[in-house]
Amino acid sequence: MICPILTKESAEILVDYCAGTLDPGRAAEFEKHSEECADCRRLIEAQREVWERLGGWKPGAVSPDFDSRLYARIAQEEAAPRWSQWRRFLQPAAPYSIWKPVLPLAAACAVLAIGFLIRMPNSRDGAKQVSAENVDIEQVEKTLEDLDMLTPLTVPPARPM
């Protein structure tokens, strides 16, 4: 067996072994390995000690009126008008302390967006402006010359002798 300390499996093997949930085959293999590995032995001892100390923490007794308080709350909720039950869906999902710092940023973004919408130039005017700017004066002159060339030459009427 490769030493679990050196592998990613160490967490699972060590924790499961000390919790007594490691399957018997792997547990036997791990025990055999730990007989030869001082590091693993130390880790097992430490984990066992933690496990035992955690086990010593026994929680307190539950209040005798716990159920009656709960049923009273349920009854109160059931008796409340239907519209008031919707109030809890309107409450924010995240606590106020989480979304509080985001508020100024959101407000600043909203102001920027509104400002941008108001100040944004009309796209049609912009297109006209662009097309006007693209007109070259030389090109206009050339076109006018072409038009001149196309006009049929008029022969002046002959003077009467």
Partner: protein
């Protein structure tokens, strides 16, 4: 044209069949919760009887205060009752229950601790100790030694990051499987193993004289 009554019949049967299969796989709690869904409130009483203590104990160890733990547990069971109509037996009831309990506890720790939890750690410890060892049969010296050790354990647990704390409590005291803890915490199985290993590493450093 399809008769709506006849067309609805197979889907209802399918649903009942699917529920029964799920109940077979997921156990007694799922069956009780289905009874609650169908309007039988005695099922809720039985669920409360079975899970009241584990939920309160888990929350007590999370927030280290018995009164707050009971308030949070009320919220947990209230949410279970509110969700009865939409309950589907897709996972073990305990997984769902501890997912709600974890969510409630993490919210309280994140949001309420600074605002509501004005009690000092010592007050909380005294509160817990008074309730925990009413008649242990130990002499004063043994009692002091026990209290000192217990105080160390509680402080060590409190020093863990909240997700690690929840993972350790569900693993050690509630004996949930890795997959159940993963579902309760909303993370992968590998992430849970990593959380647990880091948590136990910290606890070994604080609690074990061997480490």
């Amino acid at each position: 044209m399809d008769d709506p009554l006849n067309s609805a019949q197979p889907s209802a049967n399918t649903r009942v069949k699917r529920d029964m299969e799920a109940v077979g796989a997921l156990g007694r709690d799922a069956e009780l919760m289905l009874r609650v869904r169908d309007g039988d409130d005695t099922g809720f009483t039985m669920l409360l009887e079975r899970h009241r203590a584990p939920v309160i104990h888990f929350l007590h160890r999370m927030v280290q205060n018995q009164a707050i733990a009971e308030e949070l547990a009320q919220e947990v069971f209230l949410r279970v009752y509110r969700s009865r109509a939409t309950y589907e037996p897709t996972a073990k009831f305990t997984t769902w229950l501890f997912r709600i309990a974890t969510h409630v506890a993490l919210n309280w720790l994140r949001d309420g601790r600074k605002e509501k939890g004005q009690e000092s750690l010592n007050q909380k410890l005294l509160d817990g100790l008074e309730r925990q060892v009413p008649d242990s049969g130990r002499n004063i010296e043994e009692e002091m030694l026990y209290e000192g050790k217990l105080c160390e354990v509680r402080q060590a647990i409190e020093s863990l990051p909240v997700k690690q704390r929840a993972a350790v409590l569900m693993h050690k005291y509630e004996e949930l499987e890795y997959s159940q803890i993963a579902q309760a915490l909303g993370c992968s199985g590998a992430a849970v193993k990593s959380l647990l290993f880091r948590a136990y590493e910290s606890l070994r450093a604080r609690l074990s004289h061997m480490a």
